[in-house]
């Protein structure tokens, strides 16, 4: 009965309505099952240590069969936010907007307006890049810009791993612990990924930044 109390606590929380999946897959009613549902966000140093990499994944839990027909929503922007001075307000953004089988990228630039409203403006078109969205089944198409940024957009294996099924069993009171070995609930599933590599010198150079990703719908 060692685990009774935490499990009871978990069950109470479950009853309170925790009914969700994993990293950020299907995290909230307004986005679940839609094209704006972010599944994961990664930020790490690149193969070239002068660069960092941002990864945003959307539309998770795609079976291979469904991946062939999955596509980015042309009314949806994926926006990487970068706070360079520690106040949790973005100082720079990198915007990704799909159109005509290509992903267009703007930034990093300092937005006129921070927060939940963003704009795509012709004044930023001059510094834009784009990459053809890699079709399902094709080799990854990569574009490298004159400034040393790299871009990718298209289906990938979902890099997330978690024995969510057993976690669910624990939450529901049907199990008292994880199994060893566990089973990766996300094995064999795909996501739609946007990957951007950017020289550190373009986002502050040294120290630390705070980062997060947003999806925003065209009005």
């Amino acid at each position: 009965m060692k685990n009774f109390k935490p499990i009871l606590g978990i069950s109470l929380l479950l009853v309170a309505g925790l009914c969700v999946i994993a990293a950020d897959h299907i995290d909230a009613p307004a986005v679940t099952g839609g094209t704006s549902d972010i599944t994961d966000f990664y930020a790490f140093q690149g193969e070239n240590p002068d660069n960092v990499v941002f990864v945003a994944n959307v539309q998770g839990l795609l079976s291979p069969a469904n991946t062939a027909n999955a596509s980015f929503d042309e009314n949806l922007m994926i926006e990487f936010n970068i706070d360079t001075n520690g106040d949790a307000v973005e100082d720079l953004v990198i915007q990704a907007v799909p159109k005509n089988k290509k992903m267009f990228f703007f930034g990093p630039f300092a937005p006129d307006q921070t927060g939940t409203v963003s704009t795509v403006e012709p004044k930023n078109f001059g510094g834009s890049s784009n990459v053809k969205i890699t079709p399902f089944g094709s080799e990854a198409i990569v574009h490298t810009s004159d400034l040393g940024m790299k871009f990718f957009a298209g289906p990938r294996d979902d890099p997330f791993f978690f024995d969510f099924a057993q976690f669910t069993a624990i939450l529901s009171g049907n199990a008292g612990s994880f199994n060893d070995p566990g089973m990766d609930t996300f094995a064999g599933t795909n996501v739609l990924s946007v990957v951007v590599e950017v020289p550190k010198s373009m986002i502050g150079g040294s120290g630390s930044v705070n980062t997060w990703v947003e999806t925003k719908r065209k009005q």
């Binding site: 685990n3 990293a23 995290d27 140093q45 926006e79 089944g137 939450l171």
Partner: protein
């Protein structure tokens, strides 16, 4: 409560919605890349936020069901004030015996850190969620973030010094991805084809 049934239903909805949302794209490698000038008029405009994310599983685990959409549209600089107490209540519901975690953080401090959902990224070296030495300097693809979070939620103050609490809950024993990552851009593995 048939949570598995709910999960399966949710998965079914996703599959259905995905199929519904998608157009039939042909695998066509022939068209040329054009600049933004050709599409600028159709993509310029105003965009309003629907989802956001930084650290993994934060909204999933710590935000109560009725507040998940609100969390996704609250700017990070306002999240602490709006959600810290909810995070603390849900942490203590998950683990009523929580005192401090392996980082030495009590419930108020730990949830204060979590509620402002940004991912710190070091520009000076190792980038990892946690590798035994570096804490929250980024999130690499191979980082076992769920086990780290389970340890911090359930493992107690001595989880990493040989005396973990709730030993059956602090590791899901899935330690890596099902396919290998690449060391080169775009780093993520090719999609499963079948």
């Amino acid at each position: 409560m048939k949570f598995r049934t709910i999960k399966i239903a949710a998965l079914s909805l996703v599959v259905a919605a995905t199929a519904y949302n998608c157009s039939n794209e042909k695998m066509d490698n022939t068209y040329e890349i054009e600049g933004v000038d050709s599409v600028g008029n159709t993509i310029k405009g105003t965009y309003i936020q629907e989802d956001q994310m930084a650290r993994p599983a934060v909204n999933t685990v710590f935000v109560s069901s009725g507040s998940k959409d609100a969390f996704n549209t609250t700017v990070p600089s306002n999240q602490g004030a709006a959600f810290q107490s909810m995070f603390q209540n849900n942490l203590l519901a998950l683990n009523p015996g929580y005192t401090r975690n392996a980082l030495g953080l009590d419930a108020a401090t730990f949830t204060s850190v979590l509620a402002t959902d940004v991912l710190t990224l070091s520009l000076d070296g190792t980038t990892t969620f946690f590798d035994g030495t570096n804490v929250l300097t980024g999130r690499a693809l191979a980082d076992d973030v769920i086990t780290v979070e389970l340890i911090l939620i359930f493992g107690g103050p001595d989880a990493l010094t040989g005396m973990p609490q709730n030993v059956g809950l602090i590791d899901d024993h899935v330690d890596g991805n099902d396919v290998a990552f690449s060391s080169s851009f775009p780093y993520l593995a090719s999609p499963h084809l079948q």
